[in-house]
Amino acid sequence: MRIGVDVGGTNTDAALMDGDAVVATTKTATTRDVSSGVVSAISAVLAEKGQSPASIDVVMIGTTHFTNAMVERRGLARVAVIRLCLPATRSLPPMIDWPADIAEIIGSDVYLAKGGYEFDGRKINDLDPDELRGIVADIKRKGVPNIAISSVFAPLNAEMEQRAAEIVREVYPEARVTLSYEIGRVGLLERENATIINAALADLAVDVVEAFRNALRELRISAPLYISQNDGTLMSAEMVERYPVLTFASGPTNSMRGAAFLSKAKDAIVVDIGGTTTDVGVLVGGFPRQASSRVEIGGVRTNFRMPDVLSIGVGGGSLISDKDGVKVGPKSVGYRLTEEALVFGGKTLTASDIVVAAGAVEMGDPSLVRDLDPSLVEAARALINQKVNEAIDRVKTSAAKAPVILVGGGAVLVTGDLPAASEVIRPEHSSVANAIGAAIAQVGGEIDKVYDFNALGREAALDIARGEARDRAIEAGADPSTIAIVHVEEIPLAYLPGAVRVNVKAVGDLLATKAQRMKGAAAE
């Protein structure tokens, strides 16, 4: 059996699953120390069906901890940055576009060194090992053990970054190194920014992973621990210690993957209604559609693959006002819903009160909203519906209607027709879709490179790309017999005849879970 856990800012949810069956679910409050919230959530799902810790084969955790640390400037370490580039890129040194408050924490130990590649694989310059040894010795003297290394066109060729990492190991063995090619894609400033963020999170990552491990130890669960990354696939706990930044945005991804699993829909629109916002995203082939634009995290530009999610200020705790016409949100009482909403004896009129007054849902004490003006209730109810419908319409990929999956604790807010939807699916267990998304996750591999189609031929180039993505998936722990290519994108480059940027993603089942499943089958 597997346990999926989602550690959010407000709630820690857990789901116990056996194969494709959801055995038990729970929602508990997130705790400051992370670990005790995870312990109580897992204990709750184990207790519900009287399962023993030994029956658990694998634990998957999704967490927003690292994103929040970045946004709140908490637990970040000083970082030294080495860019392999000279003589290129001198006009724009690393961290040029960072907000001052975070740049101050990270420091200004920035070094440009010879190296880097051209778009067609030629070298801008040879790497100079002596120059690098000097730089690393200087970093060691300053005592900055978290080091970010980037190189021009590293997504095309990682050799120089890898060689630089070897030199760091040789000169400053206790340093922790993050290489840009493992973090991001083409776009040096944004990829480098993400690399620096990762290095800054390195100490925190060790602590958080340790907290998760402690939780499992306390529960006497000896199963392997995996953590969700932003594309909905899993990383081992050891990987997260090295690449915490890859967990950014895993929350919305897990929720959408969970929605796909619960509804059996592969192509649909997922509407996740929480306490403060409604997040609307698109599932294509069972995976979230990725955003094409740059994403800012805590004021720093990155080019992560993030799910393309439209957030609107409508949730269960959204404030309702009727000055100059009825308005919903964007302000919300958030997690204080059960204290402040009218139906819970509070004094604030919220979206939840409206749907209770409209008789659509039972929650709290309905008598407390009996005296609300019926025309206000109807206007607000219709407005909530209309806003959700508009958001669906905005994210659709074509003019045709699409199936809509409603998930999250606030899904009850949708009380009428959604004209943009071909059908509305409200799956069972939808309030813990994100924990289920973590529990069903697979492992994957992705590449994003520029290929010369004129020299290689399109088919041959795509074959190479598919092969590399497969290899990366196997490296990440996928069972080779289950690997499928789930995404191939070709983007021809303006002004460069024949040069095509190719993005390929491969995913497969976790080898560990398959082995355990077979073991289970044999025992039966």
Binding site: T89, S91, I96, R122, L188, R394, A494, Y495
Partner: protein, 373 residues
């Protein structure tokens, strides 16, 4: 609305964000990401101080004037972060060929990335920056400038990469210069500095589109001021109407992007985008583009056509949307904006009118088209 002095102003760091947004608007969908240009200018201003921007009339007739720009593939530029050193070295190469040191820097293209590159170069060289450019918008090829309309030669032209390797091109005509430069640029790493159309002050006064750097700032400032008040489009249009060249303008369509067709041919990004009207009458606007938006049409009725500007903006924030930034479902407003009169002469239209982009229809001014509609 704060206006920059017509007698000149310092391009300080606090102007850059609005200037970049205005440059993106004038890019009419193309011109490359102004973000890199703004960051380069910011770094240069922090290091060397703010350059002084002056009207062309402040430049002596005999003063040698050099253009400053980056050239290459946008995807490569975001990786190699083409810098002012490359542009500076291209100018230096031309100065040697011409035997005359620069007395002023002139932007070649105000739309997109290249609006802010000259700011950085002028800061580093300590030279005056001329408040003008060669098109008042963005175009995909080197010969598509008012300088060429006026008979100024693209050659000699210098391209330089990060190693300081440079080539000087002397070609038989401007199109040949463009072709030769494009081939060399790929060989040199597809992200280089370029300087071309070396000229004197008198020629710059005669052949440039004037006031376009302060225009870019004014547009960006009008949008950001309007956002704070909740009416970015009113604010933007009021500003444009107060300008000398861009005063014939209006929102020609409001709706949602419902179809995108994008492909790359001959090294250019070609495509079309369809916008479905908000009016509920089912009408659709089609905007076709080649790096920049070329023409906006409803059915067979043209509403704006190159060299006038077709701009697609986010319907709420008025943020300019590039051809690469277009996505299904975006709520947009499409604007038609008049270009400078010098861009509408017969000689100008031969170089960058509809037929230069393979469109089989004559140019008609946006003011006639909008009134007719």
């Amino acid at each position: 609305m704060t206006r920059l002095s017509e007698n000149g102003f310092d391009v300080t760091a606090d102007l850059l964000e609005d200037m970049a947004r205005g440059a993106a608007f004038l890019g009419a969908g193309g011109g490359g990401d102004p973000y890199l240009g703004a960051m380069t200018a910011l770094h240069a201003i922090q290091t060397y101080g703010a350059p002084h921007c002056v009207p062309a009339s402040a430049i002596g007739d005999d003063d040698p004037v050099y253009t400053a720009a980056m050239m290459g593939a946008p995807t490569v530029m975001v990786e190699k972060l083409t810098g002012i050193e490359e542009v500076e070295a291209a100018i230096a190469a031309l100065e040697r060929v011409m035997g005359k040191p620069a007395k002023a820097i002139l932007p070649a293209e105000i739309g997109g990335l290249n609006a802010l590159v000259p700011v950085a170069v002028a800061a580093k060289r300590g030279l005056p920056l001329i408040d003008a450019d060669g098109m008042g918008r963005a175009f995909p090829e080197l010969q598509m400038v008012t300088f060429a309309v006026d008979g100024v030669s693209t050659s000699p032209l210098a391209v330089c990469n990060e190693h300081g390797e440079y080539h000087v091109i002397n070609a038989r005509n401007n199109k040949a210069s463009e072709d030769a430069a494009r081939r060399l640029v790929i060989e040199m790493g597809a992200a280089v500095g370029v300087s071309c159309y070396p000229m004197d002050g008198a020629t710059a006064k005669r052949s440039a589109v004037h006031g376009t750097l302060s225009l870019a700032y004014g547009i960006g400032k009008a949008i950001s001021d309007g956002r704070r008040r909740g009416d970015p489009f009113d604010s933007l249009i009021a500003y444009l109407k107060s300008t000398d060249y861009y005063n014939k303008c209006g929102i020609i369509f409001s709706g949602k992007v419902v179809d995108l067709d994008r492909r790359t041919e001959r090294g250019f990004t070609l495509g079309a985008c369809k916008v479905l009207s908000n009016e509920g009458d089912g009408s659709e606007l089609e905007v076709i583009y080649q790096n920049e938006y070329l023409r906006a049409r409803v059915g067979d009725r043209t509403l704006a056509i190159v060299p006038d500007l077709t701009c697609i903006l986010d319907a709420e924030t008025a943020e300019p949307i590039t051809t690469e930034g277009l996505r299904y479902g975006q709520r947009v407003k499409v604007m038609g904006v008049s270009c400078a009169p010098v861009m509408r002469s017969k000689a100008a239209l031969d170089l960058f009118g509809p037929r230069a982009f393979g469109l089989d229809e004559p140019f008609r001014p946006v003011e006639d088209l909008i009134v007719a509609a």
